[in-house]
Each structure stands twice: as C-alpha cells, then as structure tokens.
C-alpha cells in the first residue's frame, strides 16, 4: 500500500463531486462523461454545444497538468491492448448507459438502483480482468 495517496484522493474526489453538482446546478444535467461525449457526437441540437465545452474543459486541465508538473507517461504498455480496451469501453458504456462518472459519481449519489448495480458490476469485472489478464501483460 506504499502507493496510497489519501490526501490528494480526497481533495480530487471532492472536486469531482463538486463538478457534478455544478453541472446540475448550472445546466440541470448529469455529469456522465460517456453520455456527454456520446451526445456531443450526435446530430447537433440545442443540447449539443455545452457538451463540447465540457469536453474542452477536461482537455484544458490536461494541458495545465502538463504545464505545471512533468507527467511521466506510460510508454511500455502495448498500444494494441489500449485500442482494444477503448473499443470495449465504448461499447460497454453505451450499452450500459454510463461509466465511472455517470453511474459511479452521479448515479450512486442519487441512490439509483441501476447505477449501484452498474458500479458494482464494473468494479468486479475490472478487478477480475486485472487479476486474470492485465497483470500478466508485459509493461504492467
């Protein structure tokens, strides 16, 4: 457990919760990233532009992080595995109507039974996948 970082986890997590509350307060929307980004890709409606701005906000913080502190990217992990993972996450979050943010952060805060079941499900399959597959990949 020498990698455990409780303080930054609590501060960062609180900011994520605050962001989700802000999106409901300001726009009346749920902060589910897969839903926001997926909706941005659909045919433009009055509900589209803010999704691009939310996504831009995420990208900006990445650029700021790079400028403020040197990020040491993972370079020894197979890119083919990353591509497969991305496709599976895309299909899974679309079918399951949400990811860690929509179900985990927002749905659980609303005590939604669908989101609680979804979160428990992806935590279990995520842990099983790491134990059975990913931990055996070179570069892990």
């Amino acid at each position: 457990m020498e990698n455990f970082t409780p303080i930054s986890a609590l501060i960062g997590g609180s900011l994520i919760g605050l962001a989700a509350t802000l999106l409901l307060l300001l726009n009346g929307r749920i902060a589910g990233i897969s839903g926001i980004v997926g909706g941005a890709l659909k045919r433009p409606t009055g509900d589209t532009a803010w999704r691009w701005w939310f996504t831009a906000g995420l990208l900006i913080t990445g650029v700021a992080a790079l400028a403020l502190s040197p990020v040491q990217p993972r370079t020894d992990f197979p890119l083919s595995m990353v591509a497969i993972a991305g496709f599976i996450v895309g299909v899974g979050t679309r079918l399951g109507s949400g990811c860690t943010s929509g179900h985990g952060v927002c749905g659980m805060a609303r005590l939604s039974s669908r989101s609680i079941v979804a979160t428990i499900t992806f935590l279990i399959t995520g842990m099983l996948t790491v134990a059975l597959v990913t931990s055996h990949i070179e570069g892990f």
Binding site: L22, S34, V37, T61, G92, R94, T100, V105, A118, T121
Partner: protein, 148 residues
C-alpha cells in the same frame, strides 16, 4: 450560450479533480483494480469523496425548481435492471481493467499529449458508433422503412 459556460466550468473542475487525484494515470487506476497484487486503495477515497459531496450537492440543488442556465433538470428516471445495463457495465469493467482508462481520465490525458490516451479515445468513439449503428440497424429491421 450560458449552458456552454456551465459546461466549461464543470469540465474544468471535473478535470482538475481527476488530475489532482492522479486518476489520469492508468497505472494508478490499475493499482486500485489489482486487489490480488500491490493494492492501492486511493480510488475508493476518490469515488467516496465524489459521491459524498455530490450526494449533499444534488439534494441542495434539487430544492430549486430549475437550474440557473438550463431549462429544466434532466434526470434519469429508469429503475429497471435489464441485461443491457448489466452486460454493458460488465463489458465496461473489462475494458477499464485491460488498460486502466475510463472515458473522463482518457480525455484529460489527451491534454497531456499522451499517445495512449489518443488511441484509447479514438477506439472509444468507434465503440460508441458501433453500438449506435447496431441499434439503428435493429430498429430498421423491426419497422421496415417507408417512403418519406
């Protein structure tokens, strides 16, 4: 226009939370999912803090009759546990565990010029589109297209 400002503000705060908690580092996420290895429980605290703040925040916000910029509160209303929800979430967990990325952190990581994040997000969008195409195809099969 104002909803775009709302989106930007929420996106920046959300991204800052992901950066500060190191959730944009896939190694940190995999260390959390690696319960049989050298387990890093940080993600439990990230999720716990986020849900706690949001639990209180949502209740305060929903005392209002409408949001500040948006026209109404758009909240999910479904309560049924269907195979699509459970199967989709199971698949998502598999993909999450394979590389250590979920959609939010991957988008922030693109800003850090991570090649992995760019590859992940391109494949992510392909996955979204694949499901939409399959859904559209099934809809078309169900109701034969009519002229006009």
């Amino acid at each position: 226009m104002l909803m775009q400002l709302g989106g930007l503000i929420a996106g920046v705060v959300f991204g800052a939370g992901l950066v500060i908690s190191s959730m944009i580092d896939p190694r940190k996420v995999l260390a959390f999912l690696d319960v049989t290895g050298n387990w890093d429980p940080s993600l439990v605290l990230v999720l716990g803090a986020a849900v706690t703040v949001n639990f209180v925040g949502y209740r305060l916000v929903l005392r209002r009759s409408e949001p500040i910029f948006g026209d109404r509160f758009a909240l999910p209303t479904r309560t049924d546990l269907d195979p699509r929800l459970i199967g989709g979430s199971a698949l998502f967990g598999i993909g999450w565990g394979l590389a250590g990325y979920c959609p939010g952190p991957a988008l922030v990581a693109i800003g850090t010029a991570s090649l992995e994040a760019i590859v992940f997000c391109a494949a992510l969008f392909a996955g979204f589109i694949a499901v939409d195409l399959a859904d559209n195809f099934r809809e078309a099969q169900k109701s034969p297209a009519t002229d006009g």
